[in-house]
């Protein structure tokens, strides 16, 4: 049985009302309706973007001074050890976040998609709920959990595996990144799980039945039916998680007490941008950092889409 899509009804003005004024307002009305967004976007989106592009070619020094330096800000970036540290830290965070987060999210989604699990709705809400809190709250929460000597994490791990109670997660350069990754896992695994869950529920059940008839076991069904079925969503989650990871700022900023942490172990690209622009006051260099980040994220996202086969210039 097929269902017929309702026709799109285009209202046309009655002939009697086709006065000049009516035609004019009829034509202009759509533009008027989109104008609030357009005005806001041009003022607070497009203009700052263009302004920051211009600024990236200037050395700003103090509130009023700007000297044109051409590409000097960008060439300085290439040899700036702090920027290198920020890029490395951000890439490490993105790598671990994505490659731990996505399998865990998918695993949870598979679990909570299973009919045998009781109280699935409650569990879905529970796993998703950390994302309702916001990075600042989570940052404060985990900075308390990670405190040495008396913190819950150390107490727990001391009891389980005997780590020293005074382990300084947020003051030891080797432990800062694991602490950040763990925190982001807690926050985002449930969020990405929702995407996977929606994708899993959209996979055609007939395909599973056909696979079973063909003798496919659970692994074969997952590999041959589930994965191709959820691929568009998986690519979306992969790209969005990567972009989100490269924009990391609030979490380390709060957890590391408004600093980049010991030995800059928590310095991210956005944090470096913020410090350069609003602590050191060099907006030109900060703009160059911002544009480099934007281009970097664009390239990585395109690469990911290319590698995963999601970008073919058309629909599958």
């Amino acid at each position: 049985m097929s269902t017929r899509q309702p026709d799109i009804v285009i209202t046309t003005p009655p002939v009697a009302r086709t006065s000049r004024w009516f035609v004019l307002q009829y034509r202009m009305a759509p533009y008027l309706f989109v104008s609030p967004f357009l005005i806001l976007f041009l003022t607070f989106g497009a203009y700052p973007i263009l302004k920051s592009l211009l600024l990236s070619f200037y050395a700003t020094n103090g509130p009023k001074s700007a000297v044109f330096v051409g590409l000097q800000n960008f060439t300085f970036l290439l040899s700036d050890p702090d920027f290198h540290t920020a890029v490395w830290n951000t890439a490490v965070f993105a790598f671990w976040s994505v490659f731990l987060q996505l399998p865990l999210s998918l695993g949870l989604a598979l679990l909570l998609n299973s009919v045998w699990v009781k109280g699935r709705e409650i569990l879905r809400l529970a796993f998703f709920s950390p994302n309702l809190l916001g990075q600042v709250f989570v940052g404060v929460l985990f900075s308390v959990l990670f405190i040495p000597q008396y913190g819950l994490v150390n107490r727990f791990l001391h009891a389980i595996v005997g780590i020293p109670l005074d382990t300084k997660w947020l003051a030891n350069p080797n432990l800062v990144m694991p602490a950040l990754v763990l925190t982001s896992l807690w926050m985002y695994v449930g969020f990405n799980m929702i995407y996977f869950l929606a994708a899993l529920q959209a996979v055609d059940k007939d395909l599973y039945e056909a696979a079973i008839v063909d003798g496919a076991n659970a692994w074969h069904q997952f590999w041959a039916v589930t994965l191709p079925g959820i691929k568009p969503v998986a690519v979306f989650v992969l790209v969005m998680s990567t972009i989100g990871s490269f924009q990391l700022f609030e979490l380390p900023w709060i957890m590391l007490n408004n600093s980049s942490g010991p030995d800059q172990a928590g310095l991210t690209i956005v944090m470096y941008l913020y410090q350069t622009g609003f602590v050191t006051g060099d907006l030109g260099y900060a703009s160059a950092v911002g544009w480099t980040l934007a281009l970097g994220v664009l390239v990585i996202s395109l690469l990911q889409m290319r590698v995963t086969g999601a970008w073919k210039g058309g629909t599958d």
């Binding site: 020094n61 509130p63 350069p173 030995d263």
Partner: protein, 441 residues
Amino acid sequence: MRFPYGPAALSMLVLSILSGLWLAFHPAKRPQATLVMWTFAKTHYDAYKQAIPTFEAKHPGVKVDLQLVSWQAVTSRLQAAFLSDLDVPDLVEVEISAAGSFFRGPLKDVGFLDLTDRIKQSGLYDRMVKARFAPYTSRGRIFGLPHDVHPVMLAYRRDLFEKLGINPNEIQTWDDFIRIGRKITIPGQRYMLELPDSESSRFDPLLFQRDGGYFDPQGNCIMDNEIAVQTMLFYVPLVAGPNRIASDLGGGQIFTKAVEDGYFLCMIAPDWRSKTIEVDVPKMRGKMALMPLPAVYPGGRRTSTWGGTMIGITKHCKKPDLAWELALHLYLNKEDLAQRFRDTNILPALKEAWNHPAYNEPRPYWSNQPLGKLYAELAPHVPFQYTSPFIATAKAKMSEALVSCVQYYKTYGDKGFEAFVRKRLKQSADEVRRLMRRNPY
């Protein structure tokens, strides 16, 4: 007549017209204040709230709008205000480590008024602790009036000192301190001193105590000079290696618990921190005491400095004379300063204010020691610290160097340590110098 786009679009249109009309006929009230002032410290805010009505009474028709801005936000908000020329306050208090970042660029483009002539002509340069003008001075011009001195003492658990048989009067130098510290330190349970091994906030006072610093008066980076090397060689074995006597756990509730548990016996305590300790660890009332910082060598300086605040008048201010009067009212009124000292323990930079009886009052929390007198005796010896627009970067680089040196010392001990410290400090300083060389002005 039927609206052609349906009821939803019609209701949106009606709502936008109605709300637009409402806004047009009810414009936001323009602030009526004559002067707008920002402060980042709640204790300052509370004190100024009490002091401002008398200023307004002296100047009929003048209204001061005092705003509390989070200290984390004040720097970026002020930078943004200067850049956009919008919502710039008339007066603003700036924290010492952020002040330098506002002195970038040509002097004519600094967002603060040059107060040098006002300060020198009014005699304030001699009436206040001279060393405290240095952090707010750039290329010989003073842009801020110092709020405080912040001499550093050592706060200690008097009850535990007595229990362990430690006589604070026997501690004259850091060598004495370390010798005793090694006897009483039990790794993981009890340390002689609270010192971090991952950031340089408490390295700085020890660097300043030796007359070291990040920049010289001309703004040259000196954070890798011999004093810095010797300070690092002194500091790292305190917090790392088998003979460490210092540790830290963090601030807030964990600090409270650690002090109560006797996890560390001593803390570096400038005047402002003595109040923090009182507030955060109330159970220790009567069990704490203060002593001067141990000297580097016998007869040497027994104090240092940590933290600070300046008040500046922005170039945006339309009534700079009135703003200057307000700054003087807040920073020079001896009765107000005395009350503020009782509330905050902060010693003002105005030397003549220290004669007020408030500074001799015994403090029960500090085993009835006269807190103000103790800090005031040390205040004239507070070292100079010079600033630069690159001060925040230099401090971050010092923290990095400290962490590297700690890691080296933990791994290799004394072997090759001095050479490593020299190399690492030079590397950090060179990075700062490289950034400074980018300056096209």
